[in-house]
Symmetry: C2
């Protein structure tokens, strides 16, 4: 049975819209990685689209930036899954997951700098929601089997681990520590942060 | 002996310049605490000075913001000194110092939000230099007497403690945790971060 013309038109329009969104996000990401100002005008020029088209999908630069960060976070989560957070002890799994997240953050340095500079903490948190959830599951697993502490809430443990990861990123970007040192400091610090505190005498 | 006229004129000019800088910093701080845009024009209006005078002292908004943050950090250091970082065990001293720093950060929430949003990590670090040094001395004292870890550099311990303090500040500002909870989480987390790691079996 042939598809009616109106449905074909709608499918066709949807395909164009999706392709445009991809092109816009690619262009914005490229500009941010090059440390260029990803203004709506610059993004439109880079994507070969009109400014009207860009505005139709992203009314503000902040919304566009948030969408770019969200896509980068989705890629990061794929990398985290490949680090197999379900395998082995929670402490070892966390070490693999932090290393994988760290490599992704390194790949996205320009983007991370723009996001930290221009997104509100609430927008940043929204964009990272999926990564928070994934890290939360791993931490819950460690809390259940006694390898991670339960005297502080999971949300705070996630927040503080991510704060350390981003602080280490800043240190590397500023040239104060090397990539290798940062990963070593992070692994040791996050381990201490999550381990059950020794019983006080 | 009467002071020569030219010297008196220079002293007089210097006094005016100092008074103007104080008025500019007060005005900028007031605007930032109210979450208002502290543009050079708005600061000049609030301080009752001409824009030319403000620009003469602070050529850019970033330089002005950095000076405001630096002054707030100086006030924070006075509060840290009153917490007596030299008294008692380093761990207890650190707990008092973190609580004092935390109260100051709370008093300066609007300013902290503007600084995080608009200053580069390098400018932020520059503005906090004096606080870093003070915290560094306390951490060194704990490293010498065995109460703090020596497997990670002091600089990283300072950076990570401050990252946690600022992350807790974000959580409180976003209404996700209370002031009291934040201080409790911070005390426990910074304690774990700085304690010597248990010997691995």
């Amino acid at each position: 049975m042939p598809v009616p013309t109106t449905e074909r038109t709608i499918d066709h329009r949807r395909a164009i819209a999706e392709r445009n969104v991809d092109a816009i996000l690619d262009a914005a990401e490229l500009l941010l990685q090059r440390r260029a100002q990803a203004s709506i005008a610059a993004v439109a020029a880079e994507a070969g689209l009109s400014r009207v088209t860009v505005y139709a999908h992203f009314p503000t630069r902040a919304q566009l930036l948030e969408a770019v960060v969200e896509r980068a976070v989705r890629r990061t989560i794929t990398a985290l899954e490949q680090a197999e957070p379900e395998q082995g002890s929670p402490a070892e799994a966390l070490e693999r997951v932090v290393a994988a997240g760290w490599r992704e953050l390194d790949r996205n340095r320009g983007l991370a700098a723009a996001a930290l500079a221009d997104l509100s903490p609430t927008a940043l948190r929204r964009a990272h929601r999926a990564a928070y959830r994934r890290l939360g599951e791993l931490i819950e697993r460690g809390r259940s089997d006694g390898s991670f502490r339960t005297d502080l809430p999971t949300d705070w443990l996630i927040t503080s681990a991510l704060a350390l990861i981003h602080a280490a990123g800043d240190e590397v970007r500023a040239g104060r520590i090397t990539q290798a040192a940062a990963l070593r400091f992070l692994a040791a610090s996050i381990h201490s942060l999550l381990a059950p505190p020794p019983l006080e005498g």
